[in-house]
């Protein structure tokens, strides 16, 4: 190896320290590199879990779906096209898993009245919430819960666009790539999602809690 090659190799060595997702995924794909896979999981676990939680409306199911996403990522590693952007591929895998699971749930007819009302899923619980906490914390948790319930009432196609743009901060162009639809369609879905969300939120807010309905005395 001559001096020039040595120089380039050193440059590449330094570049290795901050490998892009695509480079790391390439190592997973070509060499089944477990360390590289762990690195990708570390980098993306948080965002994918947040996405899945918002799509499923439940932190526990969100965590399961995130795990499922990384499992599928590893199983389908040979399908990854190195010319494409890794994040687009990962978002697509996660969204598809959430959609599949939501459809399975619907088919199994597991949606009880509680779940339809958003009461069946684990509500939003701020960490170490206890009775002696200030009311504002309770109110914030209650507000978050209402938002979650309203979001879960949206049709999947609207919720998907809304979650990807509003919470995950993807550009409309990127969302179009992830979902494989025209950018104009993404924007029109977004406008409809925001409109429908406002309506769902109002309905959810005006509805009394289930406990109040159950506690009411029966009139004979």
């Amino acid at each position: 190896m001559n001096g020039k090659q040595e120089f380039y190799m050193r440059g590449l060595f330094l570049a290795q320290i901050s490998s892009s997702d695509e480079q790391v995924m390439w190592r997973v794909q070509m060499h089944d590199d477990a360390t590289a896979f762990a690195e990708l999981s570390q980098r993306w676990r948080g965002r994918i879990q947040a996405l899945c939680t918002r799509m499923m409306g439940d932190p526990h199911r969100g965590e399961d779906m995130a795990q499922e996403t990384f499992l599928r990522l590893y199983h389908k590693r040979k399908d990854y096209e190195p010319t494409g952007k890794f994040s687009t591929w990962l978002w697509r895998v996660a969204i598809n898993i959430c959609h599949d699971e939501l459809r399975r749930t619907k088919r199994r007819n597991e949606t009880s009245i509680d779940e339809q009302r958003g009461e069946g899923s684990s509500p939003v619980e701020p960490e170490s919430l206890s009775d002696n906490q200030p009311d504002s914390t309770m109110e914030m948790a209650e507000e978050a819960n209402l938002v979650r319930q309203a979001l879960m009432q949206l049709p999947e196609m609207y919720r998907t666009v809304l979650v990807l743009r509003h919470y995950e901060g993807l550009k409309f162009r990127e969302i179009a790539e992830v979902l494989g639809i025209p950018e104009g369609t993404v924007k029109s879905r977004m406008s409809e999602a925001l409109t429908q969300f406002a309506s769902c939120y109002r309905q959810t807010r005006s509805r009394p809690p289930l406990t109040v309905i159950l506690d009411q005395p029966r009139s004979l």
Binding site: M9, R27, Q49, L151, S188
Partner: protein, 215 residues
């Protein structure tokens, strides 16, 4: 009044719009209460959405493997250094120890770095080879595909040319037969004319002046 489309408003709302269009929309917003109300509703929806916050797992800062090894070596020798410092209180001993520890750390770091770099070079070489192989395979496949496409296009082109030539040939034959018929008609007409002229000439040659009575 022409209202901007919802898509344009969404671009405006999420600031994915150029300055010129943004200024146009702002101007419209100033004049149009209907669009203002719509935008306010969407703004409220966005504000509500922000109320659902999720604690995402924190990603630990990751260091490359060689740095982790280097850090481990550094910690190990630092522990040794400070332990040694307590036991040996004499200043010259401390200095000597510190010097030794420093040299040792440097040596260990250099070894760790060299090992990591060698490993990395091997990986990169292997990756390069795989990448080159893959590129070569892709290039071959693409070349074959291009050649096949060119051959197909050439075949199609040739068949088109043959078809045009056949059409032209048929046209030529038709034109020739038409011309022949016309020529035959002209020849027949000419022959009739000649026969008629011949007959008249014969009649003229046989013409005899009628005898006149001389008185």
């Amino acid at each position: 009044m022409n209202h901007p489309s919802p898509e344009e408003w969404i671009d405006f709302l999420y600031e994915e719009i150029d300055e010129k269009t943004a200024n146009r929309l702002k101007k419209h917003l100033h004049d149009c209460s209907q669009c203002r109300a719509q935008l306010n509703q969407w703004e409220q929806s966005r504000a509500l959405l922000n109320r659902w916050k999720i604690e995402v797992p924190h990603r630990p800062a990751s260091l490359p493997a060689w740095m982790q090894w280097a850090a481990a070596v550094l910690i190990l020798f630092s522990v040794g250094y400070f332990s040694g410092k307590e036991v040996h209180s004499a200043a010259n001993q401390e200095q000597r120890l510190a010097k030794n520890v420093k040299a040792e750390i440097q040596a260990q770091l250099a070894i760790a770095l060299q090992a990591a770099e060698a490993q990395w070079k091997q990986d990169v070489s292997r990756q390069f080879e795989h990448a080159l192989l893959r590129i070569e395979q892709n290039a071959k496949q693409e070349t074959a595909a291009v050649l096949a496409a060119a051959e197909k296009a050439h075949g199609e082109e040739t068949s088109k040319i043959y078809s045009i030539i056949a059409t032209l040939e048929q046209q030529r034959i038709a034109d020739l037969s038409l011309l022949r018929k016309e020529l035959e008609t002209v020849a027949l007409n000419a022959e009739d004319g000649f026969s008629k002229a011949q007959r008249q000439m014969i009649q003229l040659a046989n013409y005899q002046r009628p005898a006149t009575s001389i008185k």
